[in-house]
Symmetry: C2
Subunit: 196 residues, 2 copies
């Protein structure tokens, strides 16, 4: 699918679950007041659409941030397969459970960290998921805007920009607009784990 294209939209009926083969996505939600918040940046290996099982309708949008490939699994067929395969069923439950845990980690982040800690955690998380366990100096491309990052972290786009600049001036990471490299993962990790 192409950059900017939606895999599904909030309110769509649940048709299939998807597994990401390549590409970065954003998953978001707009509330009654009309504002929009990014709730995740899914990427390779993750499942999309799990939010729709609860009510048969999707609660979030999922949009591709670059050209991407996903494998669709028709929901009914998938359930039928699970029902005959205890191992696959267990794997699937583990996936959903981990999704719950992942969100709770994010809650902790939003509830306790300063802007610096949030951005550090975001950078580490993204580099882990895109490059495997943070090899220092490895460069990656941020497909999302500062605004989207801010929405995800509960910050304004200006604060995100300022914080990235600050972390760069301290030598913890290199950043050239969308291109980013982690230089001092341990220091970032310390920020991400420290209290507000």
């Amino acid at each position: 699918m192409a950059r900017g294209e939606a895999l599904f939209r909030q309110g769509d009926r649940l048709a299939a679950l998807y597994q990401v083969r390549s590409g970065q996505f954003k998953s978001g939600h707009s509330d009654p007041g009309g504002r929009y918040q990014v709730t995740a940046f899914p990427t390779v290996g993750e499942w999309l659409g799990l939010d729709g099982i609860g009510t048969d309708r999707h609660c979030f949008d999922v949009v591709a941030l670059e050209s991407a490939v996903v494998v669709p699994w028709c929901y009914d067929q998938w359930m039928h397969r699970l029902n005959g395969d205890a191992t696959l069923q267990h794997d699937f439950h583990q996936t959903m459970s981990r999704e719950i845990v992942r969100n709770q980690a994010l809650l902790l982040l939003l509830g306790t960290l300063t802007a610096e800690g949030r951005v550090a955690a975001f950078v580490l998380d993204l580099s882990d998921r895109l490059c495997g366990s943070g090899q220092p100096g490895l460069s990656l491309v941020l497909r999302m805007t500062r605004n989207e990052i801010g929405s995800y972290l509960g910050l304004t786009l200006e604060t995100v920009s300022r914080t990235l600049s600050k972390l760069q001036s301290e030598g913890l990471l290199g950043i050239d607009c969308r291109r980013l490299q982690v230089l001092d993962a341990p220091a970032l990790r310390r920020m991400a784990h420290r209290a507000a």
Copy 2:
């Protein structure tokens, strides 16, 4: 189980899933830095222990805030039952999915609302879950401390206290230490949906 007793603790091996029959609980997580954050206040009807499926170990503590009753389901037996019953399996998936969605709603809350909006949302959520759809004037008992509420909402205990006092002085709710009643649900709802 008695007030203050733990159903399970972070790191415990997953033995069973539990359904709450009565009582209020808190679910929390302590991070490497040693700080503790409340991530939910489960109550009647909710499932406990779903976080443990992903890794076979629980990622959170669950502690009773008052004497409570839960129904345990041995995990292996439960999985076996699911495997032969497509309807039950679907119900269970819906439960897990809703858990995911619930957390994302909380993310939105922490990411976008002011202290006032957060407290309003908390009060409404709690009264909905304890009393059914907010009947005005109905009084309920907060089993958790201001500190626990603040931890859950990403605020300090002082801010929670101040905000509750303010909402009371505006006539939106009545509060006498642990006893609380919703007086103007629509106004609270507006606060909880308004932007920061």
